[in-house]
Amino acid sequence: MHHAISMTEETPRVLVVIPAYQEERTVGGLVRSLRERYPYDALVVNDGSTDRTSEAAREAGSTVLDLPCNLGIGGAVQTGFLYARDRGYDVVVRIDGDGQHEVEDIPKVLEPILAGRADAVIGSRFLGETEYRGSIPRIFGIRFFRLLVNVTTGYRVTDPTSGFFAINRRLVEFYSDHYPSDYPEVDAYILMHRLKARTIEVPVRMYDRAEGKSSITAFRAVYYMVKVTLSYLINCIRRFG
């Protein structure tokens, strides 16, 4: 894969965006293993954490954006897109700071974009062999959104809520202006569909969170489903100026 890149005239600039909220215990290790393995820049977006997330990320050598208040995952990730847009990055990889995603799988989501075969590559925990075991409401939700995305966009999606992905410059610019505030992953499919983006999934490993709780607890599952469905359907009919 690296050969293919070095052949090109200019090496694409890749930014790895790590949204982090109260993840002082995991974010440092993630940044360190990123920096050991890859030449890419790391950006931790600290979403108003009250613990030592920011310091841990800085000590590990990451650039850190400290949001003055908690914006929620979408707002935090979008800040990373804004940074990437302003600094002229060609590709953004977004990975969780809580140890749910595998740093070693970054080349898998990156390669199709660097090769120019896709605009967006989303890591799926359901393609290939998987160790992932979700709760019943979670699996139900994933199946529901899978159906919703497949029916409305034609994308054949297996993991519509995956937060492990890579996008090219075009999507970075679009998401800098239009990215949902919370639970953005499903919504992003309709945005990509509207942009006629070439979106593919690749198999990745996902683990149960090393630290912290999922942003989706059982009680919030219903709200999550309703909110995402509503904003998804509205995005189908929205105008993007």
Binding site: V45, T63, L65, D66, L67, P68, C69
Partner: protein
Amino acid sequence: MNRVTLFSICTSAGFLLYILEMVRRRKLREEYSILWLAGSVVILALSLKQDWLVGIAHAVGIVYPPSFLFLVGILFILLILIHFSIAISKLHQMNKKMAQEIALMKLRDEKATPPSADSL
């Protein structure tokens, strides 16, 4: 003039004056006062001109005219609440943009200043 009419006139007139005073003192922005003013003017007018109230109520099939007054009041409250929801959404969006901009600016600032003093 019966007592309920007098009460209705006094309340809506007092309300109207209160809103005007708040706007005059700049405690209420004009844009947020329009619906309040319109609501109190309509209710005041319908209290003063009862034959209008009765006429409109009967025209839309309401047997008991004062309940039309309630309907008007409730409709204005609904409109005002929707207006607030829109205003909150706008503020939410602005707040998000500002938080993002502040984070980006802080980083630029950090890079511009050498890390001599680590005090925040």
